[in-house]
């Protein structure tokens, strides 16, 4: 963050005398010379640590006054807040924003796991736009969030009757008008660290340290594009990182795979001849369950002997009145098959049990797609299957290529023909299938919640150390 050598004269001035430092600061600010906030914070701390109290007490109001006048009130507030943290007067605060916090989702689980991982070291506020209770979040994701609090800030723009939908869609914002998310930008200025967990590029970060978590760069640049203003950009996979570079011309600082916690309490021994698919029944058919059923029926017709005794379980969450689900049901009623099982909104325990029983896992998301947003950005369910020793055969694209090591811990395919060949090969070699299951199990551990938690804690501690000159371990 801070290149110490560039500010050596400043540091010398801060050590020599507060007055000398202030003079240097005023001169630089008058010449519009930019000084990074973290450097300013660190230099002010040096003055406090080096000089006697009487001089410090005279220096502080003058410093704050100068900074407020030249760099704005927020900069002065950030400076004072950073001193509080650096001098251990209080814990650092985090504001973690998610405009879809009231909705169950993988990205939201990502944010809540971060909050849960950091709640001992920080005072955490979960910022939402629609009402959601902490207990709901704890139940949905199986997390302890007891030391976090929830703050709901409604956005009037999205509370209007014609825009009152379940999810807030920032794509609806008319950029020729005022930015409706400035309310959240203002809120971000009340924390030491602000985390934007919903990749909402229209929120301008005001905190000392800010993190922009990207699950995929959905929208292009607009007049309200502020991602560049964040201290850190985090990507959930290398695939997402590549698209951040391509779409926004920005380099992510860190990549953190999402936490996956579907591990069986014991290593499953007796598995059944089940090919499993777990995916949300996206109304647009993005996850391609229908294609999957058609392929299974096709293989069953072509190679009935080889698939004998095997069944396909297609499982996933769905909204009510889902046109895609109706389409699948229509297909199955026209082409009935006792070997195909379609199940929606399964309880977590049933889903876990299916993962433990299944030998093979199919994932088609991305097949035949040209839109990068419709390719799996990570592929949570693939990693969940692997954590249960279920051999994945997933589309060669998106985040799946980072999860599955082709021919080592599973298989990747590009065409339906390739998928059929690989599936039949696995089925025909039970010993090999068992070995691959073990490899998948080992690989799946890489994405465990504990791994994520350790990585988040280490990453944020480093950020705090650099931004506030303070070590949380101490």
């Amino acid at each position: 963050m801070m290149a110490v050598k560039d500010y050596a004269p400043w540091r010398r001035a801060a050590e020599k005398s507060p007055r000398h430092f202030l003079r240097l600061l005023r001169r630089s600010l008058a010449r519009n010379k930019a000084i990074p906030q973290e450097v300013l914070n660190s230099l002010a701390l040096t003055v406090i640590q080096t000089h006697p109290s009487s001089r410090v007490l005279r220096f502080l109001p003058r410093l704050v006054q100068t900074v407020a006048a030249e760099r704005g009130l927020q900069s002065a507030w950030n400076l004072v807040a950073s001193l509080e943290v650096a001098l251990h007067h209080r814990k650092p605060t985090i504001g973690l924003y998610d405009n879809a916090a009231h909705y169950i989702g993988g990205a939201q689980k990502y944010g809540c796991t971060i909050a849960s991982a950091l709640q001992d070291d920080f005072d955490i506020t979960l910022i939402a736009n629609r009402p959601v209770a902490r207990s709901q979040l704890e139940n949905w994701y199986g997390l302890d969030l007891s030391r976090c609090r929830v703050k709901v800030i409604p956005i009037p723009y999205f509370e209007k009757k014609d825009r009152l939908r379940e999810l807030i869609d920032a794509g609806e914002v008319d950029t020729s008008q005022e930015n409706p998310f400035h309310l959240i930008s203002l809120e971000s200025g009340h924390y030491d660290l602000f985390i934007n967990n919903c990749m909402l590029e229209m929120v301008y970060p005001l905190a000392n340290v800010s993190i922009f978590i990207t699950h995929f760069p959905e929208r292009g640049k607009s007049r309200f594009f502020y991602v560049k203003k964040y201290s850190q950009i985090v990507a959930n996979s290398l695939y997402t990182a590549r698209w951040i570079r391509q779409k926004w011309d920005l380099n992510p600082h860190q990549h953190l795979y999402p936490p996956v916690d579907m591990e069986a309490p014991f290593v499953p021994q007796e598995k059944e001849n089940i090919i499993l698919s777990v995916s949300r029944f996206d109304p647009g058919g993005n996850k391609q369950q229908l294609k999957m059923i058609e392929v299974f029926q096709h293989i069953s017709r072509d190679q009935p002997e080889k698939l004998k005794g095997w069944r396909l379980a297609v499982v996933g969450g769905s909204i009510r009145d889902n046109p895609y689900l109706e389409k699948i049901n229509g297909h199955l009623s026209r082409n009935p098959s006792s070997a195909i099982e379609l199940r929606t909104n399964l309880p977590a325990s049933d889903l876990k049990s299916l993962y433990q029983k299944a030998k093979i896992f199919w994932h088609f998301c991305g097949l035949g797609q040209t839109d990068p947003a419709k390719v799996e950005h990570f592929g949570m369910t693939v990693a969940e299957a692997m954590q249960n020793g279920c051999v994945p055969i997933a589309f060669r694209g998106g985040g799946q290529m980072e999860i599955v090591e082709d021919t080592v811990s599973g298989f990747l395919f590009s065409t339906e023909k390739e998928l059929a060949e690989k599936t039949l090969d696995l089925i025909g070699r039970p010993g090999f299938l068992g070995e691959m299951g073990q490899q998948a199990l080992e690989r799946g551990k890489r994405f465990r919640r504990e791994v994520f938690v350790d990585a988040v804690q280490a990453y944020v501690r480093d950020l705090v150390r650099a931004g506030f000159s303070v070590s949380l371990e101490s």
Binding site: R26, I48, P52, S53, V56, L57, L60, P61, R62, V64, Q65, T66, A68, A69, E70, R71, G72, L73, Q74, S75, A76, W77, V80, A81, L83, E84, L87, H89, T175, S176, H182, S185, L186, G189, Y204, L206, G220, K221, S222, R223, F225, Y226, K228, W248, D249
Partner: protein, 147 residues
């Protein structure tokens, strides 16, 4: 010996004052003490148009380089003397500054006029292109999609 408690109290006092002042501010640009810089590369046509007019109105508002700016001093005790001295110095040098800046002001004014003329011409041309497109390709994509 360092009185950390007193320093802590002073920090808290400063933060409280700043927080109170912050509460009264609803504009981000006021909080950060300057305009938010927008990266124009990659913006759609609608956003570019909005940005252009925003920047233009900023230029228009600040075109007078002869407009008086307040004279201040941050010094606690000698501030008054410094302000008086600055005022005297400014009065003494005004004739020379105005000699140079008046030409600058005329030049800036002319530039802003040209810029406005160009922007208005661009708008008219866009309107004509849109009308022509509507005549030749009735189902062509809208402006934003074209970008």
């Amino acid at each position: 010996m360092k009185d950390t408690e007193e320093i802590g109290r002073e920090i808290q006092r400063l933060k409280k004052t700043l927080s109170e002042e912050k509460e009264n501010i609803q504009a981000i640009e006021e909080l950060i003490g300057g305009r938010i810089k927008v990266d124009l590369w990659g913006l759609g046509e609608k956003d570019l148009e909005k940005m252009t007019w925003e920047s233009f109105s900023f230029l228009e508002r600040n075109k007078d380089c002869l407009a008086p700016t307040p004279i201040t001093s941050h010094r606690e005790y000698v501030g008054g003397i410094i302000v008086a001295a600055k005022k005297a110095l400014r009065a003494l040098t005004r004739w020379y500054a105005e000699l140079i800046l008046r030409r600058q002001k005329e030049f800036d004014g002319e530039l802003i006029q040209i810029l406005l003329a160009m922007l208005l011409r661009l708008e008219k041309m866009n309107g004509r292109i849109g009308a022509l497109e509507a005549l030749t390709h009735p189902a062509s994509p809208n402006k934003e999609e074209r970008v």
